[in-house]
Amino acid sequence: MLVVRKLTKRYTTGDLALKGIDLEVPRGQMMALIGPSGSGKSTFIRCINRLVEPTSGQILLDGTDIISLDPAALRQMRRRIGMIFQEYALVERLSVMENVLSGRLGYVNFWQSWLRRFPQSDITEAFRLLDRVGLSQFVDKRADALSGGQRQRVGIARALIQNPDLLLVDEPTASLDPKTSRQIMRLLTELAQERGLTVIVNIHDVPLAQLFAQRIVGLRLGEIVYDGPPDGLNSAMLTSIYGDEDWSTMPIVEHQHSGDAALVSSEMAR
């Protein structure tokens, strides 16, 4: 369970990126965070693992306030929070295996990681994950030899080998083509469900968010302007999130969770 209370972030430039966010994400929920560029999505998820230092507020993960942790305790906490990035953020000159094993850095000491002598259990798990994401034949390839979709799979394996409780996902599909985007989102959703992970996904692609998330939160100028089910997003809501625009071309997908009632109502509308 992740609880965020009155979270604010003011950058040194004076910009107020987050204006007191209150949010509760129950364990096992897949939540999509949508909003225009500059709405604070990226700042928000980076505040959760303190890649960006919050200005004030509370972030409680299963009751522990992340903001009050000292550096050593913060590193321990970060092991429980996996992160997946827009441009994959792999270390390009390292091999696929090294990139995946880097997810275990919080669990091993410096010499183990320097000599690349990770515990056998970590290596077994890395092979298992690489097999799961379909990259078992790329183990010793350098990361820069992979395609975009393959790189993001490495990114997913790196985050999951941490054995996290919470997954922060920042625009996972922004650099991918539509088909690969769907494959990556499906893989992410499946893996999160298998492991019962809480997931927060920043995503630009509204239909994709509706297809895979159980809940959607809309952010605008550092404030939550929508919080509800995927099928509750209509053109009026989209306007309040993104601003005035013609939303009629946006294919608003009916979500599986919305059930028959929504289908019936859309039938009746015709």
């Binding site: 906490m77 390292l94 090294e98 880097s102 790196r158």
Partner: protein
């Protein structure tokens, strides 16, 4: 139809704008420079007798260089070369090892302000003085010989490598840094996994280049008494043994060419 007629008139002329405005100031500056040049040249009192005598010596020197003598001072020459090579290798390795922590410390993006300032200070100090001046200082401190040379070359290597390493670190892709930090990695692990892989090719290239420079500098610092082939060369010149000096110069040229060639080879293989 007005446009073609304008061109036919050819009344519109163009010339490049003056460098300095107004134009009379530009001419004043040029005139001033010419007058200064004439005055400066007129103060140079050239002693033509000495030029002629020097010319004779120059001819002798060049003709001796063309008949290099590798045998007369064989022992001194080979000892000098060996000493220079040892100095170069030791100084390059030592400089490389010390440059890494200083270079990391001097990169603003990854190190805290006090460490940054300290490391930048060390780099500034190491870069302030030219090799020969540093060599003179070390000769005074530790006495004549190759130790002074090794210290000189290590010191200047640190200034060179750390500065360029720090600049490379400051311009690396920050995304992997963020990703590795997010795994709960410690600072040292962050350096090992996110920074080092990104700067390694550059670091190796720079070190090989610096090895080249150190080999050449090892001949220079010897002239002020810091050991190596430079000392032998200096002695040869003092005794007017131009044929031996010629041999030493040829050996230095050959050595530099060999390192140049092998460094190209290593770089191709490694990067």
């Amino acid at each position: 139809m007005t446009q073609p007629s304008q061109i036919q008139q050819s009344s519109i002329t163009w010339s490049p704008p003056p460098w300095i405005r107004p134009v009379w100031l530009q001419w004043l500056v040029i005139l001033g420079c010419i007058i200064y040049l004439i005055l400066a040249l007129s103060t140079q009192q050239v002693n033509w007798e000495r030029v002629v005598a020097g010319g004779e010596r120059a001819v002798r020197m060049v003709s001796d260089f063309l008949r290099p003598d590798f045998t007369a001072r064989q022992r001194d020459v080979w000892n000098g070369i060996l000493e220079s090579l040892v100095m170069t290798v030791v100084a390059s390795v030592l400089g490389f090892l010390i440059s890494i922590p200083i270079g990391f410390g001097a990169a603003r993006t990854i190190s805290p302000l006090p460490i940054y300032l300290l490391c930048r200070g060390i780099i500034a100090l190491a870069r302030t003085f030219q090799e020969v001046i540093v060599a003179i200082l070390f000769v005074i401190v530790v006495g004549f010989g190759p130790l002074a040379g090794v210290l000189t070359l290590s010191f200047t290597t640190i200034g060179f490598l750390s500065k360029l390493l720090a600049e490379k670190i400051e311009e690396i892709d920050p995304a992997p840094l963020e990703a590795i930090r997010a795994t709960g990695a410690s600072w040292l692990q962050l350096m090992d996994y996110a920074v080092l892989p990104q700067v390694m090719p550059r670091l190796i290239g720079l070190t090989i280049y610096r090895f080249d420079i150190n080999l050449r500098e090892s001949a220079i610092v010897g002239i002020v008494g810091a050991g190596g082939i430079g000392a032998t060369l200096e002695t040869a010149f003092d005794r007017y043994e131009f044929r031996t000096a010629g041999a030493i110069l040829i050996i230095i040229i050959a050595l530099v060419m060999v390192t140049e060639w092998s460094s190209t080879l290593i770089r191709k293989r490694l990067l």
